[in-house]
């Protein structure tokens, strides 16, 4: 299930899609001052790390923030949020009925469970590559071949899987910010140099670099003979490559709300993010010459103009970026009328921001939090850390309400995952170190609910008992 799928930054950190909670391991050192410190360094282009752990923390923090923003601000994150919002109550409801039914009916519910899992996997946009169905992989291959100048073979599809796209954007964002660092100590530079596999897409593991390198053929391939003689050309081309990749991934993730597909105007196969990226890249390649406003578009992050420029050269006409997010803002505004869930509100605000100030939402960097005022919750090796940026968030009650909504989402997702897949239940409250009675079973996982603390303060036990699941 989506909530258990993770985007990795190696041993350092990981992100469960849909959780809105970047998670950091013990090998990095995140604390409440981390974000302000990193922002100060980034704004002054200083690399302040003096130790390995400080550098790992700096890189992992930025990498995971990209995944968080991919989830909370893009159409694919919004779509998957709605999918899970629909399915989680159904899964928990069925689990309750199954529990209360005679043993003879258990196999019926087991079959239903497998059927439901298949349907969920079919509905979600983000899936790790190893969970993509053969049908979806074949459709992507077939569609990539339409309009291609050279035959696309099955092994050439890998860069265009959704996981590769999201990891490429995270790697590129961190790399771009790292290249902006102008000052550090000799030791600082040496530490950074020996950790290139964490932030430099040219040498990172395959999942991070496959799209990056493939796309470099389009943006830089024709210039490679000049690179040795004119190093400045390489620097300029690399910067443009990085910026263009980030903008095209952003356009590719502009997945419309369900209503647009229900009306039959669009097919989901055409909105496969990797396919859209490939079509955008081909359109870029087809541009007669880089027209005058091109540099202006890059440096102003003017995504709407970029889309307009590429649109005539694309073999498929997508719903414009701005229109997609207007639709999402309307969907969430309507839902918010009857539900004051803060996660819903945050998604609504993100969608509105994309229609009003898209240029501030393109680069998913730390500075972007100051611009768009989204919250940033983190689960660190030492517990929960939360950041808030808007005037409304100064109200301490808001912090609590957001925290409760976030934990509720993650609790329900963890329970649904347990009932659906039969994998061990890991209590999100224990994981976030916000439960004072948690035991090692709670955080390491349990095959059934017996090890839950027998205490009224265990909200999981109380909730499961009250709802008839225990």
């Amino acid at each position: 299930m989506a909530f258990r799928f993770q985007l990795n930054a190696g041993v350092l950190a990981h992100y469960r899609w849909g959780s809105l909670l970047p998670r950091f391991g013990l090998a990095v050192d995140i604390h409440k001052r981390s974000l302000p410190e990193f922002l100060a360094c980034v704004s002054r282009e200083i690399g302040s790390w003096r130790t390995e752990i400080a550098f790992r923390t700096y890189v992992a923090f930025q990498h995971e923030v990209v995944h968080y923003l991919q989830d909370v601000t893009t159409g694919i994150g919004h779509w998957d949020f709605l999918v899970m919002r629909k399915w989680i109550p159904m899964i928990l409801g069925e689990a309750r009925v199954a529990r209360q039914s005679p043993r003879s009916l258990r196999s019926y519910f087991t079959k239903r469970r497998y059927g439901n899992e298949e349907r969920i996997l079919d509905e979600l946009v983000y899936l790790p590559t190893n969970k993509l169905s053969r049908t979806r992989q074949s459709a992507l291959l077939k569609n990539l071949n339409l309009g291609a100048t050279a035959k696309v073979r099955p092994r050439d599809v890998r860069p265009y899987y959704i996981e590769s796209l999201l990891e490429a954007e995270a790697a590129t964002t961190v790399f771009l910010k790292w290249r902006e660092v102008k000052k550090s100590t000799g030791l600082g530079w040496e530490i950074a140099a020996q950790h290139r596999e964490l932030y430099d897409p040219w040498v990172m593991p395959s999942i991070y670099k496959t799209l990056y390198l493939d796309f470099a053929q389009v943006t830089m391939g024709h210039l490679k003979d000049r690179f040795q003689k004119e190093p400045n050309i390489f620097e300029a081309a690399l910067l443009m490559h990085n910026l263009l990749l980030m903008m095209l991934v952003e356009l590719s993730c502009a997945y419309p709300p369900p209503k647009m597909f229900d009306e039959g105007a669009f097919s989901r196969a055409d909105y496969e993010p990797g396919l859209k990226f490939a079509r955008l890249a081909r359109a870029y390649h087809r541009l007669p010459d880089q027209p005058e406003p091109f540099l202006d578009i890059f440096f102003k992050s003017d995504i709407n103009r970029l889309e307009e420029l590429l649109s005539p050269y694309m073999e498929y006409q997508y719903l414009p970026y701005k229109k997609v997010y207007e639709q999402w803002a309307a969907v969430f505004a309507q839902m918010s009328e009857t539900d004051d869930d803060r996660i819903l509100q945050m998604r609504k605000n993100a969608a509105i921001e994309k229609t009003l100030k898209p240029e501030r939402m393109i680069k998913k960097t730390l500075a972007s939090f100051l611009d768009h005022g989204l919250r940033l919750p983190l689960c660190t090796g030492k517990g929960y850390v939360g950041y808030a940026f808007t005037f409304e968030d100064l109200n301490p009650d808001e912090d609590k309400i957001f925290f409760v909504d976030l934990q509720r989402h993650n609790r329900d997702a963890a329970l649904a995952d347990y009932f659906m897949t039969g994998r061990n239940f890991v209590c999100p409250l224990a994981e976030n170190q916000v439960c004072e009675i948690a035991t090692s079973h709670c955080s390491n996982g349990m095959a059934n609910f017996k090890p839950l603390p027998k205490d009224r303060r265990c909200s999981i036990r109380v909730g499961l008992t009250d709802s008839g699941l225990l």
Binding site: Q6, V11, L12, G25, A27, Q194, L198, P205, V426
Partner: protein, 135 residues
């Protein structure tokens, strides 16, 4: 083998064990599938930063003082070379095990391990090195 000489094979063997222990610690809390992906690179260097000073400590106080605070691979490389070419010394010039235990535990804690686990790993390492130097 003289009691304080270490070979490249000794270093590799001890390093592999130590790296495994440290990797397991980092994977412990969440059990996330992806944690192993780039983890061996990180855990591998943390292992280097602890192993080489311990071996230096068993060889001579001078080497230990020089390499007890390795931060980058170039320092680690120099430490390894000096260690492999170091002349045998008297037992009295060794760094005491208690000092190695205390200082290397702190080092592992700086890299994120909790004190209990860090100490356990360092004690285990010192025991293995002692065993090797007695053969």
């Amino acid at each position: 083998m003289h009691s304080t000489e270490f070979t490249d094979a000794d270093i590799q063997l001890l390093h592999a064990d130590l790296e495994k222990s440290i990797s397991a610690e980092f994977a412990r809390p969440s059990g996330a599938e992806g944690l192993k992906l780039v983890g061996t690179l990180v855990a591998g260097f943390i292992a280097t930063k602890v192993l080489l000073p311990v071996l230096c400590g068993f060889t001579s106080r001078f080497l230990y003082d020089r390499y007890k605070d390795i931060q980058v691979t170039s320092q680690a490389e120099r430490a390894r070379e000096d260690l492999l070419t170091a002349k045998p010394i008297n037992d009295s010039d060794r760094v005491a095990s208690e000092v190695l235990e205390r200082e290397m535990t702190e080092k592992l804690m700086q890299d994120g391990l909790n004190e209990h686990r860090a100490r356990t790993i360092v004690i285990d390492l010192i025991r293995k090195v002692e065993d090797k130097s007695q053969h």
